[in-house]
């Protein structure tokens, strides 16, 4: 008993000592702590509207509890499985392309010609600034069954024109690849910055050992930016269920909704447009729950496979 106490006391003493030595670190955490507390944790009580029948004038606290009614309604919707399936497939598809910006960043990094490097980087990053509305407008112009360039080409080759925009089979490809088209260059930036942090001495040493460029990429560059890759991957998973819904909505039509109908657009149509905030909140909570499970799982795997993980 006495021993326990003394251990505890000892522990407490160490904590105190550690705190005294490193109090500035806690000071560093203060702004973030304050910000999250005030702007995220205080409003967190709003989550309860998922379990209530939200009336604006009654306020969040004053609205009536309805338990899991909104969840039940979502799960029992005719479209629930389709929505879930589409959301997951679309996300998996995007996840598969996760390595693309890494490859491009590695390639950029190896470029010797400074001007070329600068130009290509700037040019590839620029499409990020084109608004989604315009990107979809371009897709429509491009893929139009009558006037679109692609279908002109197909017809010239003697192939029947393809209704890309109304075909459920094409939707995912068009959505995902046009997204890559737009954000590939932008996504390389973070990896380029990571590559800039690679210790040049490692490369010098490898050169002396006679390693080729390829070998150096695989033995030095990739391992050096691995922590960044892993963290970005895990964080990506943390947003797994969320899809940029504006673009889906713009690309969606009754004919392709078999594959294009995702949870976000469903919530927009049946929740937001109709002012059913509680329903929307319930679905949002459902997504968060899935995300949290995925996040923990992936982090666990990452910790086993590599030394890098979030916690």
């Amino acid at each position: 008993m006495a021993k326990d106490q003394s251990i505890q006391r000892g522990k407490r003493a160490t904590i105190k000592k550690s705190f005294q030595r490193n109090w500035q670190l806690y000071l560093f955490m203060m702004p973030v702590f304050l910000y999250f507390f005030i702007f995220h944790y205080i409003p967190m009580y709003g989550v309860q509207i998922a379990f209530k029948d939200y009336f604006a004038t009654l306020g969040i606290w004053g609205s009536e509890w309805v338990g899991f009614e909104h969840f039940e309604r979502f799960f029992s919707s005719y479209y629930f499985w389709r929505l879930l399936k589409n959301t997951i497939i679309l996300n998996l598809y995007m996840l598969v392309l996760f390595p693309l910006p890494i490859i491009l960043a590695l390639a950029f990094n190896e470029l010797r010609n400074g001007a070329f490097k600068k130009w290509t980087q700037t040019l590839t990053y620029a499409p990020h600034f084109i608004s989604v509305v315009v990107v979809v407008g371009m897709l429509v112009a491009f893929l139009d069954p009558n006037t679109g360039l692609i279908n002109h080409l197909l017809r010239a080759l003697g192939i029947d024109s393809i209704p890309f925009l109304t075909s459920p089979d094409w939707f995912r490809h068009i959505f995902v690849w046009s997204g890559q088209w737009q954000t590939l260059g932008w996504s390389t930036i973070i990896y380029l910055a990571a590559l800039a942090g690679v210790n040049p001495e490692l490369h010098e040493a490898a050169k002396v050992d006679g390693a080729t460029r390829m070998q150096r990429i695989f033995r030095i560059n990739i391992p050096s930016i691995m922590p960044t890759i892993v963290i970005l991957f895990i964080l990506n998973i943390g947003n797994f269920m969320q899809i940029g819904f504006e673009k889906v909505l713009l690309m969606q039509n009754t004919l392709n909704s078999e594959t294009s109908d995702v949870i976000q657009t469903f919530v927009y149509e049946t929740g937001i447009l109709e002012g059913q905030y509680s329903f929307a909140a319930a679905v949002g909570l459902f997504e968060s729950a899935i995300n949290i499970v995925l996040l923990i799982t992936v982090n666990q795997i990452a910790r086993k496979v590599s030394e890098n993980s979030l916690w």
């Binding site: 500035q24 560093f28 995220h40 969040i60 070329f116 910055a193 990571a194 080729t212 504006e246």
Partner: protein
Amino acid sequence: MSKFSLSDKAFDRLNFLFVLLITIIIIYPLIFVISASISDPHAVNTGKMWLWPVDVTFEGFQRVFQNDAIWIGYKNTILYTVVGVIVHLFVLLPAAYALSRKELMGKKAWLWFILFTMLFNGGLIPTYLVVRNLQMLDTMWAIVIPGVVGAWSILVARTFFQQTIPDQLVEAAKIDGASDIYLFFKVVLPLSMPIIAVMALFHGVALWNQYFNALIYLRTEDKFPLQLILRQILILNEVSADSASSAAGSAQSFADQIKTASLVKYAVIIVSALPLLIVYPFLQRFFVKGVLIGSVKE
């Protein structure tokens, strides 16, 4: 030795071609937007314009620049972006650094405290009430403070610090009696220019493009950021353009609005994105320089 250099040369060529190819693919939308901005909208709408400008006209740009509100919007957006980025870095960097240090106790709790905000949020109304109660409505701070930092940036920046700041360096400095504050400013920051540049860029671009907070929190038109003004020039409701077709009595005005929109749509993109495109090459420099400064110091 010669064998290696030869294959290095081949690698260089292949790599050059690879990047060139990707750039050509990606450059297409850019050329499209630029060409469309100075083409007759009719040609754009009917798919006749697909690469180079057709029936060149500068009316789109003229229309955009005739609008006085645009200049006010520009001024506001620059102000919000600059202030926003400074506050962002001030909040983000110390925390990311602290989280990267082993000495920080309760690391897991801190991480969850931060991660949790990425997964759950209380929604618009409670956040609005906080902003209102802090007397921020209709001020710059309503744009700058909510969303000043996100879990994503903190965790990515922390990884960078872990990766680039060697523990030995910190320990050595501490033994020399340096405080964390001194260490942070004199050693860590100079070594971290790439991440600072990236974070500033990411947050700056997000601020530059964002309009939703402005829609909710700002009332006075003089305070509207550029994006809000641009959205007003374009059709406000592109997503639900179809529903407007039922607005009897105003089909004309709607059609008219569409014509204006297709005229200025692309010019607007260029006008709003150009400053960011110009900034990028300057930031790019830090991706390389940061490391050089760091290694010189060591």
